[in-house]
């Protein structure tokens, strides 16, 4: 991962100076990295949309990358920001399958990925908040179904989603 980080950072610095070839490779590599990054927490049919949103954000905000700092934590912060934004918007009941290829994930996991992963953010939520967001915003259940499955009241589900998303927004740059 150290070499991947160094390579991506070098390509990003080149892209900022106008190197189109480096930029094309960087975006392709980032696209693949983002797809892996989202796999555990985003239903498969939504991953492409989310990756595209992040790529567009990277393009629009590429000046915000400070060449003196590492690249992947910058990309991960944008990925988290777009993901929390996505959770606020998405309320779909028909796309519930998570593509969980943990063999592939585990083989590529390393310290950097672990530190910047979405799981870390979920770990900072209370159990009830994490359950409410997982059931309603990720798996696409209705509030009533989520209340039934989790044993929480419907009001509690709504409150936990609201508070949980607010907390996630504040955790975007947190690594611990």
């Amino acid at each position: 991962m150290k070499s991947e980080e160094a390579t991506l950072a070098r390509m990003m610095r080149a892209a900022q100076t106008g190197d189109k070839r480096a930029y094309a490779v960087l975006l392709s590599e980032s696209s693949a990295w983002l797809a892996r990054y989202y796999r555990r927490r985003v239903p498969a049919p939504q991953i492409d949309d989310l990756v595209q949103e992040v790529l567009m954000a990277v393009h629009a905000k590429r000046a915000s990358y400070d060449p003196a700092r590492p690249f992947l934590p910058w990309l991960a912060a944008i990925a988290r920001y777009r993901w929390v934004d996505h959770l606020r918007k998405v309320y779909r009941a028909d796309e519930t399958e998570l593509f969980d290829d943990s063999a592939v994930q585990d083989s590529e996991e390393d310290v950097v990925i672990a530190r910047v992963s979405l799981e870390r953010m979920f770990g900072a939520l209370s159990d009830n908040q994490a359950t409410a967001i997982e059931l309603v915003k990720i798996e696409g259940h209705s509030v009533r179904d989520a209340a039934h499955k989790s044993g929480q009241s419907e009001s509690a589900i709504k409150v936990n989603i609201h508070r949980g998303l607010k907390k996630l927004s504040a955790l975007i740059e947190k690594a611990e």
Partner: protein, 213 residues
């Protein structure tokens, strides 16, 4: 990779132009220049209090203005860095600075209550004027930080806005402190710290609105 992603990447590569990266050093220099403009404005419009730089003022005068300056520097440094996000970046320093500054009004209120002289706080004839001047002096820093953050990608716009407001309020108040000859604890602790509170609230609710992306 999906065909849509590849098409998107191709179009972005076609569209790509060189950009000047947001280096934190540039941001800090920008804030320093804006704060200097605020201080220059105070000097030109209200003049400097000679007692302050001759060493005639009470110790609390230097302590309060020094605390405002340190808080302004800490909040500015964090706000500048927030334009370039990164997982693992911490922005806890200014919170400790804010807690440190909050000791001043608390001390003033406790002291006034103990002496039975709360009127000295509430009936300060120059308080509102000082606060208004400090807010005007903070405007250049507030504008500079807002523009800087809008160019960047703050992933916590509320916090970034609040820190920009706190930084502007603290630096503006420290700048106006060069001109204000009132060096009592009650005056400095209340009327020279209120711009920080106001800046933070305005930043949290107003500046944050223009920082979302």
């Amino acid at each position: 990779m999906s065909r849509v992603n590849q098409t998107l990447i191709d179009s972005m590569v076609d569209d790509m132009q060189p950009v000047a990266p947001l280096r934190a050093n540039y941001g800090w220099a920008l804030v320093a220049a804006a704060a200097a403009i605020g201080a220059l404005g105070v000097w030109l419009t209200a003049g400097l209090w000679r007692g302050g730089y001759r060493g005639d003022a009470e110790a609390i005068f230097y302590a309060a203005n020094g605390m405002l300056l340190v808080l302004g520097a800490a909040a500015s440094a964090s706000a500048v860095v927030m334009a370039s996000p990164g997982v693992g970046t911490r922005h806890d320093g200014p919170r400790w600075g804010m807690a440190m500054l909050a000791v001043l009004p608390l001390a003033a209120v406790v002291s006034a209550l103990a002496k039975g002289s709360t009127g000295a706080i509430l009936n300060d004839p120059y308080g509102l004027e000082c606060m208004a001047h400090a807010l005007v002096a903070s405007s250049a820093t507030a504008i500079a930080l807002t523009l800087w953050l809008r160019r960047g990608a703050p992933v916590n716009p509320r916090n970034a806005g609040m820190l920009a407001g706190v930084a502007a309020g603290a630096l503006g108040s420290a700048a106006y402190g060069l001109s204000c000859p009132i060096d009592t604890l009650e005056h400095l602790a209340i009327w020279h710290t209120l711009p920080v509170l106001i800046g933070g609230v305005v930043g949290r609710y107003a500046i944050a609105r223009v920082l979302s992306w």
